[in-house]
Symmetry: C2
Subunit: 259 residues, 2 copies
């Protein structure tokens, strides 16, 4: 297995065609895409290309947002966006609201990014831009995949990744929030193990591990590395139910609790 | 970055010197280790080499184990081992006890493995072997690292990995339960981001992402692949506090709760 960054992909601006930007960077590199390559794109460039910026100066917080903001010690306008982007609150802590995003995954502040969201167009001194997650990351993954396959003639899989914190463990890890063209989960139940018994616990989060691999590499440079190729993983190409398959239903989750 | 399995490493038996087995397999391959290679060893072979087998037929459950076993619908002898291996119970579900292992990490059934634990020595028909996690995975990682460095003259890092389930998300992912020679966490706070602001959320779980990368590759074959080399990651060699650094203290964990 190898993984490498595609050099020369810009961090994207609203309206950019991401697959066109990636194809251009690939053409200018000496590493053409191959069948079964998994192209991992950070959510940030997807959100940027989709124009998912919001200026906090334009947000009027609801009463509920003001109440939650007081509890969390956070900006009520920011909390308002978190509430709009999520379906339930999981936990509230100082400075962070752990929420279930509209798309199902549980993440701090509904994945809204307050860092690194400057954009090329000029904004006023009072504006404070934040960046929401993509509207529908699975749909974004399918669109990027279609563009890459049309442009290369190769059977490509696409993962849209983000970095999430987690219960119990320190540090963030890459996870898949959008998937197209590969199975998010790899179910090996029923396979027989080395001693002839049935394997236990053998549904692996294939797409999350691909995202973690890419995150490992993305963090290795000072410059932005928004697109990473993971090559050499075998999977049934085209078989994909989307990143929603990675969401554990709240009814089966020992740690789910709405407040 | 590249990752590859070291072919020819057996799944190990009690008393085996793991670093000697790995060195032998490397010498018989055409891929010598290099400085800064990260050697990822699955906990299973470490446990096996350390003889961490227990025969359930030899276990007498305590009253508490019988009580918890009734609640979980599990074998009381197995639950007894889970309780012995853990410091607190996090959640109880049908068939599984989520517990905080002695070494700090929260994992189903204290990481005790009921599959795949046959061993070469003959056992009676009534025996039912299970395999505990290594006694001290950080110490095991340090020992394997010392052996590999002595045998190769290279500066090697070692991660001992396991596959854990997680709250909120389906499927297992590789995590680091033992670390030697590389920083488990990579703290980039204070670095300035692309737009000149300080980065947020930038402590990445380096060793966990290395373990996830290795797990991706380990699952790619029908035969056992207990040792994976991850090559091409930059890190400050030798800087390591052990996998305990990856444990979020219960006091800082929104999802911790003892029963």
């Amino acid at each position: 297995m190898t993984a490498f960054a595609i050099a020369g992909v810009p961090i994207a601006s609203p309206g950019d065609d991401l697959s066109a930007l990636i194809l251009k960077a690939i053409r200018e590199s000496d590493r053409p895409l191959r069948d079964h390559d998994i192209v991992v794109v950070t959510s940030k460039v997807v959100s940027r290309s989709e124009g998912r910026f919001v200026d906090l100066a334009d947000v009027v917080p609801s009463e509920r947002a003001i109440q939650v903001a007081r509890e969390a010690g956070a900006d009520a306008r920011f909390v308002e966006l978190v509430l709009r982007e999520s379906v339930e609150i999981s936990r509230i802590a100082q400075g962070a609201i752990i929420a279930r995003h509209r798309c199902g995954f549980v993440v701090a502040n509904a994945g809204i990014d307050r860092s690194n969201v400057g954009r090329s167009t000029e904004v006023s001194a009072t504006s404070e831009l934040v960046l929401l997650l993509p509207e529908d990351s699975d749909a974004s993954a399918r669109a990027i995949r279609a563009g890459l396959m049309a442009g290369t003639g190769r059977n490509i899989a696409v993962v849209i990744s983000d970095s999430f914190g987690r219960p119990f463990r320190m540090g963030t890890v890459g996870v898949a929030i959008g998937v197209a063209g590969l199975p998010p989960l790899w179910d090996r139940r029923g396979d027989v193990d080395l001693f002839g018994r049935s394997l236990q616990h053998t549904v692996t989060a294939l797409a999350d591990q691909v995202a973690a691999t890419a995150d490992l590499l993305a963090g290795q440079a000072d410059e932005a590395r928004p697109v990473i190729v993971v090559r050499g993983i075998q999977f049934r190409a085209g078989e994909s139910g989307g990143a929603r398959d990675l969401v554990r239903p709240a009814s089966q989750d020992l740690y789910a609790r709405a407040t």
